[in-house]
């Protein structure tokens, strides 16, 4: 069964900082094509899971596998090359660059990073023949302008799909908050990711905006054929969006299941102590 493929596997991952265990024996996986939610109270270690997957931290114990390939020790930029991309909890756009440039940056690794080749070849993703001649070709504009146009068209296409095209020439910092979040998603998509890690994409959005976001993320999954792993606090978003949910508390995975199962789960209700939970469960 194709749908049951594990695109990402976290194999008994533990992350310690000094004496603090931020993630304790996290053992689960993301299935290809699904929308998986990761929830839990503040400080439960959710973002740390993302940071371990994207190579920001090297886990104290355990392994991370992507399509069966061990990516535990890869650097953040290599993680992007193999096809995982992310957004950030506190928006991290290239503020002083235009919206278009923000998205075009995401395609740079396709021509610039020779050492990514072996990973790209391994997962059958190499297409542009990234090599060091591209540097000279871009400076002396030898066949580069055609490539630049391809990048621009692709970026504009993504912006179009996310409804940001009219803002392409604006500075990223001038965008309203919600659109900055969207731009982060656009940028992540432009890296040609197969797995998208979204860190609280609905934070700071009003209820109608976050409802639109739910529809948008579902649409993105189908349109771009990506798998989505999402951290979110807004329970309406999580319940409306995710097919499967993981719950963390104090670094430990305490529950797993469909939205319905999670809403019934005693442990989960205890972990939240009713704070955000009560009004969702009514």
């Amino acid at each position: 069964m194709r749908a049951m493929n594990e695109i990402l596997k976290l194999d008994h991952v533990t992350m310690q900082f000094g004496g603090l265990t931020a993630v304790n024996d996290f053992n689960n996986h993301v299935r290809e094509g699904e929308i998986l939610g990761l929830i839990g109270p503040n400080g439960a270690g959710k973002t740390t899971v993302f940071n371990v997957v994207t190579g920001v931290y090297y886990p104290t114990k355990g392994k991370v596998l992507f399509n069966g390939l061990d990516i535990t020790s890869l650097k953040p930029h290599h993680i992007t090359h193999v096809g995982i991309s992310r957004t950030f909890q506190n928006i991290r756009l290239f503020q002083d660059m235009t919206v278009l440039d923000n998205v075009m940056v995401a395609q740079h690794h396709e021509i610039a990073t020779k050492d990514a080749e072996k990973y790209l070849v391994k997962i059958g993703k190499s297409k542009y023949g990234a090599n060091s001649t591209w540097f000279w070709r871009s400076v002396f504009k030898l066949g580069y302008l055609r490539r630049e146009k391809e990048m621009k068209d692709k970026a504009l296409n993504i912006l179009e799909k996310l409804g940001l095209r009219k803002l392409a020439a604006e500075k990223a910092s001038s965008l309203p908050y919600g659109e900055q979040r969207l731009l982060e998603i656009a940028r992540a998509l432009a890296t040609d990711a197969k797995l998208l890690l979204l860190d609280e994409p609905a934070a700071g959005m009003n209820p109608s905006e976050s409802q639109q976001l739910v529809q948008l993320i579902k649409w993105i999954r189908d349109e771009f054929k990506v798998t989505i792993f999402i951290i979110e606090h807004d329970m309406k978003v999580v319940m409306g969006l995710c097919e499967r949910i993981l719950v963390m508390d104090y670094g430990v995975l305490i529950a797993e299941g469909t939205p319905d199962e999670i809403q019934e789960n005693k442990k989960v209700i205890e972990a939240y102590l009713g704070e955000e939970w009560s009004h969702v469960a009514e």
Binding site: F17, T47, N51, V56, F88
Partner: protein, 313 residues
């Protein structure tokens, strides 16, 4: 190298190290609070020495009083630099602050060239002569050039001891200010978390100003001792000692006062010992300090006593 020369190098190294330590404290305190390398710190050191020089030569003020006035003037100068140049850009990117600091340093040096002139001056006649006398221990008398001279033994300029004693006193006073007074407590609080401290009703700008003044006063003490040991004045005299003191601060762990002291002593000692063991390397003495810096930064960037910080994403 025999025991005598080793001891001699040890004491000279310690006295040079204590000078680095006195200057390094100013760097480390400011960095601990503002995350700013105050490039102008070495120039405050230079200005203090010039103040004392002109008070004695032109003002005919007794040397000890001149030294005290110079230290106070340096404290005021440090405070003023913060108020005029750094305070307006407190919230600007850190690079802007660093560039401004370079500009202030450049300004003070040019100021000294214009007002005090770029010609080197001698500090020799400013302080009592006996400080430069040698303390000779051991050795034996020989007749050379028709005179009795002492050969071998331990020769240490008296000023080296004076430097060690004054540094010790200054460090005790500093320790008392930081750990036993209210302003010291405020300084420690500000270095941990500025927003929270200001919510507690502490006048953060006042504390920062005081930190600049205190650091500058220590640099002035270091500068006056430095000029007594190496009695040549010129507008760029603060540059190299300032950089090396900064290296000492990084060596010991920037932000930590104990680290600055330890780093200062270690840097002074290794530098003197290097020249002592390999006299041919004397020309590379300054390069050596930078090599230490680069080594430390690539191996243990938090320094000997510093705390490692985790990158937040």
């Amino acid at each position: 190298m025999n025991l005598y020369t080793f001891l001699q190098n040890l004491i000279n190294g310690l006295s040079l190290g204590s000078l680095y330590a006195l200057i390094a404290i100013g760097y480390t305190m400011v960095y601990g609070i503002l995350r700013l390398i105050n490039f102008a710190h070495g120039d405050v050191f230079m200005m203090a020495v010039y103040f004392a020089f002109f008070l004695v030569t032109l003002g005919k003020v007794p040397w000890l009083i001149s030294f005290v006035i110079a230290i106070l003037a340096a404290a005021l100068l440090g405070f003023t630099i913060d108020r005029v140049a750094y305070k307006p850009i407190r919230n600007a990117p850190r690079v802007s602050a660093l560039i401004t600091a370079i500009g202030v340093s450049f300004f003070l040096e040019s100021f000294a060239v214009v007002v005090f002139s770029g010609i080197p001056r001698s500090f020799r006649n400013i302080y009592p002569k006996f400080l430069n006398n040698m303390l000779i221990l051991g050795g034996h008398e020989e007749v050379k050039y028709g005179r009795n001279v002492i050969v071998g033994g331990l020769r240490i300029p008296i000023v080296s001891f004076v430097i060690l004693i004054v540094t010790a006193i200054a460090l005790v006073i500093l320790w008392w200010i930081i750990y036993k007074t209210k302003i010291g407590m405020a300084m420690r609080a500000v270095s941990v978390d500025i927003p929270t401290t200001s919510l507690m009703g502490v006048n953060v700008d006042g504390v920062i100003g005081f930190t600049f003044a205190l650091g500058s006063a220590l640099a002035a003490i270091g500068g006056l001792l430095w000029a007594t040991r190496y009695p040549q004045l010129w507008p760029y005299m603060g540059f190299m000692p300032g950089l090396k003191a900064f290296i000492a601060a990084v060596f010991g762990g920037i932000g930590s006062i104990q680290g600055a002291v330890v780093g200062g002593f270690l840097l002074g000692l290794t530098e003197i010992m290097l020249v002592g063991f390999f006299p041919k390397m004397a020309g590379y003495r300054d390069a050596f300090a930078f090599l230490i810096l680069i080594l430390i930064l690539s191996v243990k960037p938090e320094g000997l006593l510093g705390k490692r910080s985790v990158v937040k994403v």
